[in-house]
């Protein structure tokens, strides 16, 4: 691997791996380790949303990081990481004409389609062991997508007509992640920054609390200081949600 980084203890690369998060957790890797998979066969989104990835065309990795953070604010790590990945992607693009935005809580949307996602796992955050397994997936040079995903997912290549070096993106992400790490002490500031790059109030969405619940229509009303989403439901009430999935209605 070309990744040489003073912040990291170890970089582990696999040609093929079921899931970088799973490997990192099962092997209880030390903080500041990065696990990369050239081809991730069982990349996971939230629960059973599988992350579709072509071999060696995308960037799928897990950063193992010990972070001191209050359990009730630990989800801020995802918002922080979303800003970092967003910035790294924005930075590598050939020009500023691409519409790139964050979707609650931490998807990265390019020209209306998902280009990157983040899923963080942790062992008991209420205990002293505060090790987080931050899983990041970015569609980089993938050309083909299965039919059912074409409307929802894209890659940097498909939207910009440029090929990118996944290693360069990884290096940018890690540089930023460590550079601004102290921001994690200021969760509300993170949310303020995140808000600048996300879909504003007034956007119509469909919302699903979790896999097993029905989909409801709502309008984004805003986000609270710690990232919970406020939705105006069809009866006009404001609901606050801490988990769930939003999709846009165009």
């Amino acid at each position: 691997m070309k990744i040489k980084d003073g912040n990291l203890k170890e970089v582990i690369y696999f040609e093929e791996l079921d899931s970088t998060n799973l490997y990192s957790r099962n092997n209880d890797l030390v903080s500041d380790t990065v696990v990369i998979a050239g081809n991730q066969t069982k990349g996971r989104g939230r629960l059973n949303h599988n992350w579709f990835s072509s071999p060696n065309k995308n960037l799928t990795f897990t950063l193992v990081k010990e972070i001191e953070i209050e359990p009730l604010k630990a989800h801020i790590i995802n918002f922080y990481t979303a800003i970092i990945v967003f910035s790294a992607i924005k930075n590598i693009m050939p020009d500023n004409n691409f519409k790139i935005l964050l979707k609650w809580p931490n998807d990265i949307i390019l020209n209306g389609k998902k280009v990157a996602g983040i899923l963080t796992e942790a062992h008991d955050i209420s205990s002293d062991r505060k090790k987080f397994f931050i899983g990041i997936g970015i569609n980089v040079n993938q050309k083909d997508f299965p039919e059912e995903l074409k409307e929802k997912a894209t890659s940097l290549l498909n939207e910009t007509d440029f090929f990118y070096e996944p290693d360069t993106i990884l290096k940018n992400i890690l540089d930023y992640f460590y550079q601004f790490f102290e921001l994690l002490r200021k969760p509300e500031e993170i949310i303020q920054i995140w808000r600048q790059f996300t879909y504003p109030a007034g956007k119509s969405v469909s919302f699903r609390v979790c896999e097993e619940k029905e989909i409801k229509r709502a309008v984004i009303y805003g986000y609270d200081n710690l990232g919970a989403i406020l939705l105006k439901n069809q009866t006009g009430d404001i609901e606050k949600h801490y988990s769930g999935e939003i999709s846009f209605i165009y």
Binding site: R44, R46, L47, N48, E70, P71, L72, K73, A74, H75, I77, N78, F79, W104, P105, N106, I118, L119, T120, E121, A122, H123, D124, I125, S126, S127, V209, C210, E211, E212, K213, D224, L226, G227, A228, L230, D237, I238, E239, K240, H241, Y242, S243, G244
Partner: protein, 159 residues
């Protein structure tokens, strides 16, 4: 008005919710009142952020999930039974993925530190570990249910 009568009245006032009793009888006027409890201002300053945050978490604008009212009422818990509570607001998942088996079931024997469920909030999947070794005697929430901060999730009988 004899002393015994007065004692009775005092006892009545003491045991009642009344703050004051006034009796007028055969030209004698008697007025008894209880000392009012002092109102103490909160000991912590209002800007104590983690408190206000927890409060805001516990008071959603409206119930975000219909199942919220099914929050179980836990009766007195025997000394050998431990309640495991949610460390955060989020969604309770009983298994690592929808097609996988639950981490635990009623009757499962578990060890201290073993994972018993996941609470997810904003794509942070937090594996909750058991604080004790024992037997699961009750699961107080359903899979995919929204849970509050500090809401009891499991009852574990220590072994």
């Amino acid at each position: 008005m004899d002393l015994n009568y007065l004692k009775k009245i005092i006892k009545m006032l003491d045991e009642s919710n009344l703050a004051e009793i006034e009796i007028e009888e055969e030209g004698t006027k008697l007025k008894l009142s209880k000392p009012r409890p002092k109102i103490v201002s909160p000991a912590y300053p209002m800007q104590y952020s983690s408190h206000t945050f927890q409060e805001s978490l516990q008071k959603p604008v409206v119930a975000a999930d219909e199942k919220k009212e099914s929050k179980p009422q836990v009766e007195a818990i025997p000394a050998n039974v431990v309640e495991i509570k949610s460390p955060m607001v989020g969604t309770f998942y009983s298994a690592p993925s929808p097609d996988a088996d639950s981490y635990v079931n009623v009757g499962s024997t578990i060890k201290e530190g073993s994972t018993i469920c996941i609470i997810e909030a904003m794509k942070l999947m937090n594996e909750i570990e058991s604080e004790v070794s024992g037997k699961v005697i009750k699961i107080l929430v359903e899979n995919a249910q929204a849970v509050e901060y500090d809401q009891p999730l499991f009852l574990i009988e220590k072994l």
